[in-house]
């Protein structure tokens, strides 16, 4: 039967064919190859044992691709996290220990996982911030929902929420333990143990406040 179409020329290969080793008699015999393989394993075994005994194992972080065993015995040993690791959230405090948070809800607006719930309230009568600022009556983060994107930290205009605790979320045995309330979040610290941040916060009435107001102004 006549072909309706001319035959398609074979496509040019864009790959290198794999070269297989020749199957010699020793390879076909199987036993010598097994012994060779075991030899490789035993060489590593003794080298690693020697390193362990001498205590010269490669560093799991800086030399993780070097020869030798770079696994660690978690949780007795912990891999150090990099400086900018985004861990569990903490709420930072002011000098007087009150939260820096002003309950503006910028973090919960920015949160793509919608894991932050804040209830705003007013400082009680007599507080110097009464009538001027708000504070979070409730500040709850659902750490199960959190995707650790760090948007809340970026959105915060007051440097009140940070993810610099260096802690990863702990496994719990019930879901409600992942709901972090305000006191837990305020209790967490930065890696240096500080509850505050390095960024200063000027408040009206502070001696550090450079501004002038009606009482102290020269005009």
């Amino acid at each position: 039967m006549a072909r309706a179409f001319p035959k398609k020329p074979p496509a040019t290969l864009n790959a290198t064919p794999v070269q297989y080793t020749e199957k010699t008699a020793t390879v076909q015999a199987y036993i010598p190859e097994i012994i060779k393989g075991l030899g490789v394993s035993m060489r590593h075994f003794f080298a690693n044992t020697r390193d362990m005994v001498r205590g010269t194992r490669p560093d799991p972080v800086t030399e993780r691709y070097a020869d030798g065993v770079s696994t660690i015995s978690y949780p007795e040993q912990k891999r150090p996290y990099p400086q900018r690791f985004r861990g569990l959230h903490r709420l930072t405090t002011r000098e007087d220990g009150s939260p820096r948070c002003v309950a503006c809800l910028c973090c919960s607006t920015a949160c793509p996982a919608q894991c932050i719930f804040i209830e705003a309230g007013e400082y009680p009568e007599g507080d110097k911030r009464h009538g001027y600022e708000r504070y979070p009556v409730k500040f709850v983060i659902d750490e199960l929902r959190c995707i650790f994107c760090g948007y809340c930290v970026e959105a915060c205009p007051c440097d009140a929420i940070r993810m610099d605790t260096g802690l990863h979320p702990v496994p719990y045995d019930s879901r409600d333990q992942f709901i972090y309330k305000k006191d837990i979040l305020l209790g967490l610290t930065a890696r240096d143990g500080s509850h505050e941040t390095a960024n200063p916060r000027h408040e009206p009435g502070d001696p550090t406040h450079p501004g002038i107001d009606r009482e102290r102004g020269a005009h």
Partner: protein
Amino acid sequence: MPTFKLDGKEIPFEPGESIIKAAWRQGIEVPHYCWHPGLSAPANCRMCLVEIKPGPNQRAMMLDVVEWDPKLGDYRPRQKPKLLPACQMPAVDGQEVLSDTSPHVLEARSHVQEFLLLNHPVDCPICDQAGECKLQDYWLEHQGTQKRMRDEPIHKPKAVSFGATIVYDAERCVMCTRCIRFMDEVAGDPVLDMRERGNLNEIFVAPGRQLEGRYTFMVEHVCPVGALTTKDFRFKARVWFLRSAKSVCQGCATGCNAFLDYDPRFGKVYRYRPRDNEAVNKFWMCDDGMLSYRAAHIGRVTEARADGKKKGVQSALEAAAATLKDVPGKSVAIVMSAAHSQEDNWAMRELARMLGTTAIYVTGAGAGYEDDILIDKDKNSNTAGVIELVPDVKSFTQLVSDIRSGGVTHVIALGGVTPRTDPEDATALGMLGALVTIAAHTGQLSEAATVLLPATSWAEASGTFVNKTGLRQLAEKAIEPQGASLPAWELASLLATALGLEPSFKRLKDVRSRLVGAAVPSTRDVNESAST
């Protein structure tokens, strides 16, 4: 009608109207802070500056200015046209006005904006206006640059209480004087004024006075920035989480148009905002009306009750049918409610027609304060609607005396509120053989009810309300029904079914389609007046 050209577009205007108002009527916004369509034009914010082209045989007024030339490293002289405030310049026939298309205007807006933000504290995180603030919007739209001033901004009084309802923050204020003009021109109580000058300019309350009266909330609403905030809404919510339903105020028979702002996540209503309607409330609302949003959550009937016990709606309906089983339909009295929507009242009238009774009464809240600005004496939102449906409807006083004389023994009532709280009335209602009440809010009728059915309030179902001038207005649904509540017309339909009748309305569409044709001279349609 004469016209002028704004950025090449023909704008018609009434003679004597300002450029900004004529453009506003056409839906074109010339950026502004101090101008408000309902107030006079002081032209003090300078945001609405426009370039007006000279007429034929006229020379443009040019100003000699110097401009920084970065290449030259020095200032060089330049001329620019004199810009004029659109809020104060009356439009002239054939005039050519440049707004968004003039580079001079764009530059002026950017600089005015920078000037207004010079001493602004930028405390948007703790400001309740954030999200609906003109300073934020116009910064994005017309400025977009940082301020060049490196000095510490001037600090002014913050969180000053102006009265029982309003808090003032002088640092955020742009001195547009809208609040001053509102109190002077609309509320008729010139209690606010301005003191000091320049940087230290601030709004204050007349010495020895407080910001009080029945229109204080409007001061916050006309404020284009976060300087004035209400104590009621302060720190309660962030506005970008709120959704707005086009609602109608239930406070009195005026039927002011309003936005009912609610948070759909929690099903919670937070506030009213006036909605412009030239035919009803113009731009304003009264304090009592603004606070009446609370009725969406306070005093609501959310559970069915029968014989003093909580019941499901279905078993309560069965209990109602049982109490009315041996009563001939003709001797059941129907009570309509001036506080419920036209749909609900129509369903009650239909129920009366099916039962064959002619004893139809009306209840609602009692009369109260009135003034000649907005507030009406009648504190019900739909009195005119009930009278439209049943012109010879009898009063609540009549109902009480009819019960006393034994003429009425069984009642199906809509609405819990009664015009007065007389213990004698409660005694009379206690004499009834059966009182089936369909109510959204608690009141004498819901307390005395043998069977109580929970109805949705105006915030939970859309409904038509007829105001005192006969204008039919639609209030949109905001939040989901609370508790077990159902729309009252639906409960009326279910009640009719439980009584063994065959109601002709099962869906809102059935009610609506017959409501306009059946009850009303159809000259006025629902929401006839367009929102301005």
